[in-house]
């Protein structure tokens, strides 16, 4: 009997009687990471990585009942062994490995292969069945090394500063923002929106080494911001606050920026193809490394990616989930972030 099934509440392990990243409230939710499409309000128990705990407590509620595991640690629930392995997606993101009577299944949540400098790098886990995302499951999505992308961003920033323009980078508060901070720190001050500053605080308190940033408060002048890098979440895009900066130019950091049509559709001045999801090669590499006999393909280009895997001799099927909506500029979390932190 398969270790997991896909129900209307989410991915369910019957033998262990728990869910992984459910989208409806359940008794016991194993949580891969802190993005809003993977962890929701209302579960009685949460099991997540140590670093994810303060994040979801901060983002959802301090009252959550949360157990934690380190990478490589395991617990057993109703005879099913549950252990966590790094997914490389964002800080605290984990692949969930389930083992029961010799059968091994890995639910990877969201993942990327490249070491981003701040997240514990992805580790392939051997298994019989593997649940994989396919956000960028088309061969046109192949990332450049992040050094190259960050050089591009840094040059853009330098050029903006020399022309008295204010560089505004649009990035998710959780994950992309910290990755930018880590990799862009050093040359000019980095100013961050409240929602990002709040998460940074949580992450630093949890023991992660994050370079210094400055929370944007009304006292900070436009002149100061112009000489630094401003990072804000997607909900601030097109906001009056940005328009009122000194000659603002916006840059969107997202894997979708790989394609011209998507770059043009966004009303940004620059697009940088920087993603926390695996690219085409990354997906193939990860799946091959698991040695899995069966692959379940979730959110993304599920149909095309599934067909390709099958043609390659890897048995795969599509699964409908509610994952993959964190990209929405109006995800609940970002709206909360906006309300708690009206900018000057």
């Amino acid at each position: 009997m398969a270790l997991i099934e896909f129900t209307k509440r989410g991915i369910y392990c019957k033998q262990g009687d728990f869910y992984i990243d459910p989208w409806w409230p359940v008794d016991y939710a194993v949580t891969t990471h802190g993005h809003s499409d993977h962890v929701r309000f209302g579960n009685k128990h949460y099991l997540c990585h140590t670093l994810t705990k303060p994040i979801i407590k901060r983002r959802i509620s301090e009252d959550l009942n949360v157990e934690t595991l380190e990478y490589g640690e395991s617990i057993t629930r109703n005879g099913v062994n549950i252990s966590f392995f790094p997914a490389g997606h964002i800080i605290g993101s984990a692949q969930v490995r389930l083992a029961y009577k010799g059968e091994i299944c890995v639910v990877s949540g969201d993942y990327k292969i490249e070491d981003d400098g701040i997240t514990t790098p992805f580790e392939p886990v051997k298994c019989h069945s593997f649940v994989s995302e396919s956000t960028f499951g088309l061969p046109v999505y192949k990332w450049q090394k992040q050094e190259v992308v960050f050089n591009g961003i840094q040059n853009w920033v330098n050029n903006n500063i020399s022309q008295q323009r204010t560089s505004v980078l649009i990035a998710y508060s959780l994950g992309k923002a910290q990755r930018l901070i880590k990799n862009l720190a050093g040359s000019v001050p980095i100013y961050v929106h409240n929602s990002i500053a709040n998460l940074n605080e949580v992450i630093i308190n949890a023991g992660v080494n994050l370079p210094e940033t400055i929370r944007i408060v009304p006292e900070i002048t436009k002149e100061a911001l112009q000489k630094g890098i401003v990072i804000v979440p997607p909900v601030m895009r097109d906001s009056r606050w940005i328009k009122n900066l000194a000659q603002p130019v916006t840059g969107i950091c997202s894997g979708w920026m790989q394609v011209r049509a998507h770059r043009r559709w966004q009303s940004a001045d620059a697009g940088f193809a920087l993603s926390d999801h695996a690219d085409w090669n990354g997906l193939m590499e990860a799946i091959t490394a698991t040695g899995a006999e069966k692959v379940y393909v979730t959110h993304g280009f599920t149909a095309a990616f599934t067909r390709f895997l099958n043609e390659q001799g890897i048995e795969a099927s599509e699964v409908l989930t509610k994952f993959g909506q964190e990209d929405d500029e109006e995800s609940k979390v970002d709206l909360v972030a906006q309300n708690e932190s009206k900018l000057p």
Partner: protein, 529 residues
Amino acid sequence: MKRFAQLIQQLELSNKTNAKIAALVHYFNYADDKDKVWVIALFTGKKPKRPIKSALLKYWAIEITQTPEWLFAESYTNVGDLSETIALLLPPAENTSDLQLYQWIEDLHNLEGKDDDTKKAFILNAWNHLETQERFILNKLISGNFRIGVSNKMLVNALAKQSSLDSAQIMHSIMGKWNPYEITFHELVNGVHVNTDNSWPYPFCLAYALEQAPESLGDITAWQAEWKWDGIRGQIIKRNGELFIWSRGEELVTEQFPELHFLVDVLPDGIVLDGEILAVQDKKVLSFSTLQQRLNRKTISKKQLEDAPIGFFVYDLLEYETQDFRTQTLSERRKILEQVITGLGDSPVILSPVINCTSWEELATLRQDSRSINSEGIMLKKLNSLYHSGRKRGDWWKWKINPYTVDAVMIYAQKGSGRRANFFTDYTFAVRDGENLVTIAKAYSGLTDKEIKEVNSFVTRNAIEKFGPVRTVKPELVFEIAFEGIAESKRHKAGLALRFPRILRWRKDKKAAEINTLEDLRQLLQSTL
């Protein structure tokens, strides 16, 4: 090629004219002169020789990447551009190349007549020397067009800024006949191949909309009333045996309207006419949608010439016998103009008639019938006025008729920009087509801030689906949409498109069941054809 690739990227990312012009100026400041000529050629629709079919490019890309054809098709659907899909699919290049744009174009040119193996070897080698964005450019040179929102005028403005030459002169130069394989950049912008003195246009005199009652303009006998035509404002120039047609957009459009080329033989030298380019048959003005078939085309088919014949309704004379005539009064200008045009005899160049009437009431009555002759109202010009440059309040007024209207229901909403960035202010409207709703227009303006807030809260509460920034909403809110014209359209599901639609008012008194039908609009379309 790197510099050009960068230019394309900058042009694509910005939708601000000034930023685009700045990028072009920067490019023209630093690029190789031979490259610049090609950039002007490419942006004005002159294509280099294309010795390779795009199907072959696709085939070779599929072959070397071992991509299944269906997966290529899926990728193409997502990317939306063949050249780009290929550029993104290929593995990273192992080498780099410093060849300039013009050198690539020459190399491609030299492939002409070679066998497919030679061509393939060239392309594969090229792909292996170019970064993604450069590959995209190369593929585009072979198979596509650079549609990056650079109008001729924008290009000319950038060249004028960069070269300190006059923009009208540059427009004339680049719109003239020249061969990018032969001409130098200096020759091109200086117009060595053309005589730019001959083409100088004058700035058009523009009218303000009449918002008060016409009686406020005083005695009607001080005014000349004409029909206001709904076409393309144009200036026809003949100097030193050469004919030029300028559009209001300050573009030289001479080649687009062969029907008017006979003027080079019949007009006296040193003359400039102001009027309206219209679709005209049997001296009658056809609808704007008919004229549209003839606009912005690089080539004109025989069928288009037959279906949408062009005429020119003349209403002013700016230069006569090489003398600037703009300092003469309108009545004096009109007198000479009538002589000139009458002298042409029967032709598609027609004197725009003066409406004879003795009172404002009489004129108001005539105005009601404007649409029956495809006019959009009345122009009022003071008889003793000079021809001004640009817009000046007082002497010229446009007194347009009320727009067409349709009651439609809102079905999509999108957030606005600027001050309204946080509100859903851009709406798509639909009319009924049997059981279905079919979209007919998108409109941005026309509501008060209070109404916008109300609609916004409706959208937030009644959003059914999200497509990126767009919300599908419950079809409940009815609006009266005003528009200026209606045309057949293959691009829109409704099969027709409204011209200049905007919200007239929110019909809170109406229910979605009471909106207009597609059939209503079809009938209107038929009646205007």
